[in-house]
């Protein structure tokens, strides 16, 4: 057994956790902003897939990875705006519209991918992002090579967490987001536009989901497949609850999930081969359900989550 553990806990393992956590962190922060403003975005799974495809395609056609990232972010923001149009401006059911956005985005992603790349036996791949070691910091034992020899997008995710917390808790806009998610009427009577604030939050959320999708096809896998997102969007929704709608806790939740996921990957590769690999694949999800059951009991959602806002109601 000890040999197995040695194989598991090493620099590479730590680096894997960070890598797996990155798209989850972007997606979780994106969903968190949307939900803090009172809008559940179940379109996340589809938005991530569409952005993964759009970013990959743009990078593949132009040869510029950063152009690909930009396209993914813009597509994500656009899909966020689409979701906000239905749920905020028109006040339709957030559940139904979210599922609709996911189905629409997934279908569109498949369709456009086939249209652009055709049917190929080996999926086309790109030369993705390369790790960028940060001088000096890389020399820190264990932590250095694991954390500071990563893709630029990973560093961006690490910066995004404190930045999100700052925006949410320290800026007037962040206060408006929290207020429209708790009591939109209070925000309205204070002269804050509920509709505009919700639109902005959902669009920002969509852009972050776009980053998550871009990371998958341009850093993690360097190719687009139809299963590239494989439930990470749904997991992010659970992680937001697990993280109690707080940027720090949500990032922690993403790391914890990534830890279990990295663990099961190692266990698949290690000497426990007599167990079917599907059993290991289940682990992170079982962990999520168990953790949710224990940790989310006293988690309180934003009071106005799922509730559309209309002003002149009588």
């Amino acid at each position: 057994m000890s040999a197995v553990f040695e194989q598991i806990f090493q620099v590479g393992f730590l680096a894997a956790i960070i890598r797996i956590a990155t798209p989850l962190a972007f997606a979780t922060l994106g969903e968190m902003f949307s939900e803090r403003a009172g809008v559940l975005n179940l379109g996340i799974e589809g938005i991530m897939l569409l952005c993964a495809m759009a970013g990959f395609t743009a990078a593949s056609l132009s040869g510029s990875l950063w152009l690909g990232v930009l396209v993914a972010v813009l597509v994500g923001a656009l899909m966020g705006a689409l979701h906000a149009l239905f749920t905020v401006a028109l006040g339709l059911s957030q559940h139904v519209c979210g599922i609709g956005v996911t189905l629409f985005c997934s279908g569109l992603a498949y369709f456009l991918y086939r249209l652009i790349f055709g049917q190929q036996s080996v999926p086309p791949s790109i030369d993705g992002f390369k790790p960028v070691p940060i001088p000096l910091l890389t020399d820190i034992p264990i932590l250095g090579p694991a954390v500071f020899n990563q893709f630029t997008l990973v560093y961006l995710a690490i910066i995004a967490v404190p930045l999100a917390a700052f925006v949410l808790y320290r800026t007037p806009w962040g206060l408006s987001v929290r207020m429209v998610g708790e009591n939109p009427r209070a925000a309205d009577s204070a002269g804050v536009s509920v509709i505009a604030t919700r639109f902005q939050a959902v669009i920002l959320g969509g852009a972050l989901m776009g980053l998550a999708g871009a990371f998958l096809t341009m850093a993690q896998f360097n190719a687009f497949t139809f299963g590239v997102v494989s439930g990470r969007g749904w997991v992010a929704i659970a992680l937001v609850v697990f993280g109690r709608w707080d940027p720090w806790r949500s990032a922690g939740a993403a790391l914890l999930f990534a830890f279990v996921d990295a663990l099961q990957l190692r266990m698949q590769a290690s000497g426990l081969g007599h167990i079917p690999y599907e059993a290991f694949l289940m682990l992170p999800f079982i962990f999520t359900i168990v953790a949710m059951a224990f940790m989310s009991r006293n988690a309180v959602a934003p009071s106005a989550l799922l509730k559309p806002f209309r002003r002149e109601e009588r």
């Binding site: 929290r178 009591n183 925000a187 309205d188 009577s189 204070a190 002003r311």
Partner: protein, 506 residues
Amino acid sequence: MSAPLIEMRGITKSFGAVKANEAVDLSVAPGEILGLLGENGAGKTTLMNVLFGAYAPDAGDILVEGRPVAIHNSADALAAGIGMVHQHFHLAPRLTVLENLLIGIPGKSGRIDRAGGLARLQEIGRQHGLSLEPNLPVSALSVGEQQRLEIIKALFRGAKLLILDEPTAVLAPSEVDGLFAALRSMAAQGLGIIFISHKLNEVRALTHRCVVLRHGKVAGRVDHPASTTSAEMAKLMCGHEIVPPTREASTPGAAVLTLDGISTSGHAGTPLRDVSLFVRAGEILGIAGVSGNGQRALADVISGMLPPKAGTMTIAGKTVAQFSPRELQALGLGRIPEDRMTTGLVTNLPLADSMVLPRIGTEAFSRKGLLNPAAIRAFAEEQIKAYDIRCPGPMVRAGALSGGNLQKALLARELAFDPKVLIVSQPTRGLDIGAARFIHEKFLAMRARGRGIIVIGEDLEELLMLCDRIAVMYEGRIAGTLSSADATVARLGLMMTGAGHTEEAA
């Protein structure tokens, strides 16, 4: 008097066919407290929502310090120096006091200006004697403190005119004094205040001048409220004289409901400890007490929602075995719960459904296990007519009705089956004089028919007027019972603080 701070000229606003406001003129001078009076549905709240920009008027002008202004939303109103404290507070419970104040205020170099906010909060505290702990979450504040926060919020934004929509409805009597002191001090410093209420004694005590609305129009103006009688004002509000109902002398019969040694546990709120009481046929028993002294548990036990841990209850001589609402109803109990919206009826269903809810499976409203919609509708239509419940019809969503009409609907629902004994909590809370009087008359008529009624309430004046005997609850016990001849507000008040109880024990 100086130039008016705010002037509303010829304001008209309709909702569909209903004219909520019609050609209303109103003005407030700096330093003036204006009372805005009217029954529920007279258009007071609509008028103020027009002033605050929540509704756009169909016609009319608003002038601020002599200049006409267009107010399209609350941001415009705030910019014009108009602040409003709504009946239902506009606060986010999980954010802090300071965060609730700073919402919508531009920050300093991209950040929330906490330091500036704190300084302003302290300044308001000094100026008007209104202070709050800035870092507490709003959920930790009492209702009175939340109201104070709403007032501070308006002042924080530089309000010159403060609108308060029925601010005392949610306050305990001691808190009302504090509010009035703060309002007087603000007026003394040149603020204009519009005080909306239908409590005449408060309006007479606080305001300098009154405007009375009836059916959306100005029914009258009172220039010296302090020297005008409540009866005169009530006449303006209702359009006719209000005669207080008289309680005829009567000889009560046998006990229709008896509690013997009832104790409860495991209930939200104060549990009951060894409570014994009875109400006789042709008698109204009042239950007085500061809220939170076991009244909820008492109402829940009597209505069958909370089986007691010990003790027995009998209705019309039969001992209650199961303590289920259905059993008690079969024994002849009617109940009007305290919270009309949550335990009284289903707000999202048609009014007719809510009106038959307790008897939905009985023969009157169903046939062979299927609902009989025609019978349900006919019943509701009949009651709507009999009780003058103002609504578009029996199929309207129950939640769309005003408080007074909901209370009438609940009363109609219970009285239609002539219960032997009725338990009711806070029967007239939030209702205007006309609606309250109607409810009182129905209770007295029940009493005259030889029924028993238990009224749980905090309004001592009301209990003294209605009840033959008043029991006072203190910390889950009956601290004592007074007959109507012996009961006074002072004696009851003393017993409610527990003083009467210790006296008795000594």
